[in-house]
Each structure stands twice: as C-alpha cells, then as structure tokens.
C-alpha cells in the first residue's frame, strides 16, 4: 500500500476512535417537575446534567472507581472536616448525585446524615445511576431547603455540620442566599458547628454572597478554584495549626476519595475581598439570579 494511503487510513482510524471516545452516551433522560435530568457516560465517567443544552455537569462518578471524586467541589466541601473532624449529626441541603452524602457515610459511619433535595427525581436518579445507597443513619427528604430548615428549627434539632449545596451555575434559589436564611442555618448549628456552602466565585453575586456570609458568620475560610466553598464555624474558624493537625488525622481516610491535605490546605484562604458598600442579600433584597454573571 502506498505510504500516503496508509497515512489517510491511519488518520481515519484515529479520528473514528477519537470521536467514539469523545461522544457521550446518554443512558437516561427523565423529565421531572423542575427540569430535564440527563444521565450520560463519557471517558469512563457517568455524569448527571440538567437540560439538553446545559454543558454544566451536576455530578460525575468514575465508573471503575466510584469512591474516587471527580470534581473539585466535593473535595473542597470535605475540607469542612478540617474544622470539625467528627461531626455526629450532619445536614446536607442539595443531593445531586449523592456524592457528598456517600463520602460522609463512608468517612463517618457512626454519624447521622439528613439530606434534603427539592426534586424527588434527583433522589431516584442518584440511587439508580450513581450507586448511592443511603446508610442506616441516613435520612432523605424531598422538600424545599428553606422550608425544611424552618421545620427543623421548630423541632429544635441541632447539627454539627451543615453542607449547603443547592445551587448550580444557571439557577440560584434566591430565598436560600439571604442573610435571614443563613441566620436560620446558624440557629440549627451547635455552638461549635460548621457550615460548608457552595457559592459563586465571580461577579456581583460572588461579592454579595461574600458580604452576606461575613455579616452572618464573621471570618470564614474561602476555598476557591472555579467553584468557591465557604467554611464558617459558629465559635470562630480555627487557626492554621489546628487545621493542619486535623488534616494530618484525616489524611489516610481522605486518600480513598482521591484528595488530601497537599491539595486542600493551600486553598484555605482567610482573606476574601469584595467591593466596599456591597449590598447584603436579604429576604427583602435577593436578586441573586440577576446578579449572577454581572
């Protein structure tokens, strides 16, 4: 065979293989009350996204190693354990693929985890496609995250750790960004309880959220890459020495999930900035979706 034909053939084989490798395979598409939930597989990952035109992924799992975390966000949320390594009672607001709850169940098998998710279809999908099996100490609820918290306050239940992960990049539940809501979360926390919140990392919403969290909790750790996770503690954030000590204790356990102190500790920043005069988000003023992207 002539060399040029061999080259063309080789290129065709490579192109076909590349396209086959890169093309996502949709394995489920479910229309829920709130969105279209699409489950697809690509490059050895199984992912969830909302909407056919949405390029953002809500959750991904490595098919061959489900424990290994794919995204930075859940790894950053795990940093909350550096502030309080043994939370006995945990509230997770926003389930997604169940990644965070799954990690907590495995890391802290004695803990009680309450998880609330607005969309019942997301809970079904997490169980069906993301190997999410609630542990005996895990309770799942399908309810609005703000309404659920108000009911918990009436029951006077307290938590050691609250994880607020109810947002995605295209839709922000505005009533869950306000200072009043953060105060409600603070009232649910033990005196040394920790809040880990997935928030926005740029633009006017980033500034407004930064100012609102600071007004409610005081100083916090600001972990930021593309996502931003705020870590606050009711009795004040511990110093770096304590963080380092807790990181050392948890290091071997964290390795199972593909993260550890070498990656996490450099992210612990205590000096987030926002423009002077930034308006706080309140129940009276909460145009979070309009501020997002400005």
């Amino acid at each position: 065979m002539r060399p040029d034909r061999v080259a063309v053939l080789a290129f065709a084989v490579w192109l076909t293989a590349s396209l086959a490798h890169a093309t996502p395979t949709i394995i489920s598409q479910e229309k829920s009350l709130y969105r279209v939930i699409i489950i697809y597989e690509e490059n050895g990952l199984r992912c969830m996204k909302f909407g056919t035109h949405d390029n953002g992924r809500q959750s991904c799992m490595t098919i061959a190693d489900p424990d290994r975390l794919v995204f930075n966000l859940p790894k950053m949320i795990m940093g909350a354990l550096y502030l309080k390594p043994n939370p006995g009672r945990i509230l997770v607001i926003g389930l997604g693929g169940g990644t965070v709850v799954d990690v907590l169940q495995k890391l802290l098998p004695g803990s009680q985890v309450d998880a609330v998710e607005l969309d019942p279809a997301v809970i079904r999908v997490a169980k069906k496609y993301f190997a999410f099996i609630p542990a005996p100490g895990t309770n799942l609820y399908a309810e609005d995250g703000r309404v659920f918290v108000k009911h918990l306050l009436k029951k006077k239940i307290k938590y050691d750790l609250i994880i607020l992960d109810a947002f995605d990049h295209i839709s922000v539940p505005e009533h869950m960004t306000t200072r009043e809501y953060l105060k409600e979360l603070a009232n649910l926390l033990e005196h040394d309880g920790v809040l880990a919140a997935n928030t926005f990392s740029s633009g006017m919403l980033h500034a407004a959220e930064s100012a609102t969290y600071f007004a409610t909790f005081g100083a916090y750790y600001n972990l930021k890459i593309h996502n931003r996770v705020i870590l606050a503690k009711m009795d004040g954030i511990p110093d770096q020495v304590t963080i380092q000590r807790n990181a050392d204790r948890l290091e071997s356990a964290f390795q199972r999930f593909g993260t550890g102190k070498e990656w996490l500790l450099p992210l612990f920043d205590t000096n987030p900035t926002w423009p002077a005069g930034t308006r706080l988000l309140t129940d009276q003023y909460s145009p979070a979706n309009l501020l997002n992207g400005r």
């Binding site: 309404v147 009436k154 003023y285």
Partner: protein, 206 residues
C-alpha cells in the same frame, strides 16, 4: 371630559400594573416560608384568578348604580388600603400561617388569601367599572371594552417586566410595596380633584 377620560384610562393602566407587580412580589414574600415550588405559584395564581373573577363581577354590579370617576377613585383607594398588610404585616401573618399549616401547599394558599384576596378582588372591580363610565352608547361598548382590556393588560405587562427585570435589582420588597401604594394614592387624589372640579362633565350612565 377629555381629562376625565384619560384619568379613567390611567386608573385602569395603573390597576393592571398593581395587580401583576403584587403577584410577582407575593411570590417573593412567600418564598422564605413556603419555598418557590410550583405549588407556591399555583396557590398565588389560583388566588389571583379567583379574586379577579369576583372583582369583575362586583365591578359590573356596582357600575349599575350612578357610576362616577369619584367612585372609581374610591375603588382604587380601597384596593390600596386593602394592600396594607402586604407591606406592613406580611412577616407576622406568614409566620402564623407557617406555624398553623405545616403543608407548604395549603400554607401558601392560606397566606395568599390573607394577603391578596381583598386588594386583588377590589382591583378586579376597576375594569368593568371603567368600561361603564366610558361607554357612551351601545354601539361603542365593544370598542370601549377592547380599549380598557388593552390598557389594563398593557399595565400588567409593564408591572411584570419592570418589577422582575429592574426594580428588584434596586429596591427592597417593602419599598416596592409602599412605592406602589404611594402611586395609587397619588392617582386617586388626582382623580378625585379633577373629578370634583368638573363633575358635571362626567359621562353619565342612565
């Protein structure tokens, strides 16, 4: 007569604006207590539709009894006064309902009734009343009704767009409630003044 006609249209336009802005802000006021789920909007829209339908009925009924611009102004003022709980007592009312009704669907519906039933029912009376004032002969009734519906719905369009796109970026919820109530009072006063200056020129309904 021309001034009064314009005032009647202004009241109709503003009433349309007021109703839709109140509906949007109502969703925002209810969300901390009952969420933003489809059932919350279902409760709000149900209540607004029911209130408007009753308002149309009442407005038509009242318009048969010596209608006047002055009385139309009083209807607008009554809707404004009835909206006072939205601006002044929304939080204690919502807290009480939340404590009483744990199911957010019925909580949202009960809250909508308590906050919005009166102002929206009274606002609903404005359009049929305005039609009665403006109709000067059987042959024009359809044309006048079409114009009133157009202006009222155009006001609703403005109230929806301005509130949701721009005003919530600038003002707080209560500021918007009080601002709208202030504008309602200004429109009422203007209509009452002009209505009293030239009452003889008001179109009469036999």
């Amino acid at each position: 007569m021309a001034k009064q006609k314009w005032l009647i249209y202004l009241i109709t336009w503003w009433s349309g604006y007021f109703v839709m802005a109140l509906e949007l802000l109502g969703g925002r006021a209810l969300s901390p207590f009952f969420g933003t789920g489809i059932y919350v909007w279902g409760a709000i829209i149900t209540l607004f539709m029911l209130s408007l339908s009753l308002g149309y009925l009442l407005g038509g009924h009242f318009s048969a009894r010596q209608p006047s611009l002055r009385k139309l102004s009083v209807i607008l003022l009554a809707a404004t006064v009835a909206a006072t709980p939205c601006a002044s007592w929304a939080t204690p009312i919502l807290e009480r309902v939340f404590d009483t009704l744990p199911d957010p669907r019925y909580g949202a519906l009960a809250s909508s009734i308590l906050l919005f039933f009166l102002p929206i029912t009274i606002s609903g009376a404005i359009s049929p009343y305005a039609i009665r004032l403006l109709v000067d002969g059987q042959g024009t009734s359809g044309k006048v009704a079409g114009m009133v519906f157009f202006i009222s719905t155009f006001g609703s369009t403005a109230g929806t767009l301005l509130t949701s796109f721009y005003l919530v970026l600038i003002f707080e919820l209560d500021q918007l409630f009080y601002g709208m109530m202030s504008i309602s009072i200004l429109v009422t006063v203007a209509a009452l003044l002009i209505g009293s200056v030239s009452r003889e020129a008001v179109p009469h309904a036999a």
